[in-house]
């Protein structure tokens, strides 16, 4: 799979407190895949994350390398986000003992318009966090700016 960092891709503004919460949740979920949503706002130049939510993983047969985000949790998070004038702007999930690059499974289920944050997590915690967006039929990497809104 081609992976490119495209300058036209809006940067992901991820406050340190949200990144810390993502890493903590990923570590607590290890060795299972865990997932959730990124809530914030998007404009032409950036995707801004205000908070994260954790969602249930309905995948029960391959806990270490699959996730199916509970749509009830998506619906609840979307309702809360809209109430606050925000949106679901992306999805995060972990790759236990795997690099934070989209897999073929990730690509097949991806939605254009969302940011996908992937955290590579192991026994010692999160090793690397990267962000991706679908462009055409492939993922391109999105730069992460650790900024407080």
């Amino acid at each position: 799979m081609n992976e490119k960092l495209v300058s036209q891709t809006p940067a992901l503004r991820l406050p340190p407190r949200v990144l810390d919460e993502l890493k903590r949740t990923a570590r607590l979920g290890y060795p299972h895949e865990v997932c959730g949503l990124l809530i914030g706002r998007e404009d032409e130049s950036s995707t801004r994350v205000d908070r994260m939510t954790q969602a249930g993983n309905l995948s029960t047969d391959r806990l270490a390398d699959r996730y199916t985000l509970d749509p009830d949790d998506f619906q609840a998070a979307d309702t809360a986000a809209r109430r606050d004038g925000l949106d679901v702007v992306g999805i995060w999930h972990t790759h236990p003992d795997h690099p934070p690059r989209p897999s073929r499974t990730d690509l097949e289920a991806a939605w254009k318009g969302y940011t996908y944050v992937i955290l590579s997590v192991g026994r010692e915690g999160v090793a690397e966090t990267r962000a991706w967006r679908l462009a055409g039929s492939e993922f391109v990497e999105q730069s992460i700016e650790e900024k407080t809104p």
Partner: protein
């Protein structure tokens, strides 16, 4: 006929000119979705299959309830209903 608000997820907003919500009328969820499709061409192809059923990669909610548990798209609409198009999200490390 009831008034309904359909919530549009970010990936489908190119079909609605960027609108996060669309207001329609209908007696059932199916009629409300038909009204959405008439107003915003192309969006229903992403939501419903050729058989009129909800595609596998989306879920339709009436209020806080997945319509799958309400008997499907023919469920009657209460007034001021909120219908949500919820993307199915999945993936994995390998």
């Amino acid at each position: 006929m009831s008034q309904a608000t359909i919530r549009i997820p970010t990936p489908l907003r190119p079909f609605t000119g960027g609108a996060a919500e669309v207001h329609v009328e209908g007696s059932t969820v199916a009629q409300a979705l038909d009204a959405l499709g008439l107003r915003h061409r192309g969006i229903l192809d992403r939501v419903l299959g050729s058989d009129g059923r909800v595609r596998g990669f989306v879920n339709i909610y009436l209020g806080e309830t997945n319509v799958k548990t309400l008997g499907g798209l023919d469920v009657p609409l209460p007034d001021a209903a909120i219908i949500s198009i919820v993307p199915a999200v999945a993936g994995g490390a390998s």
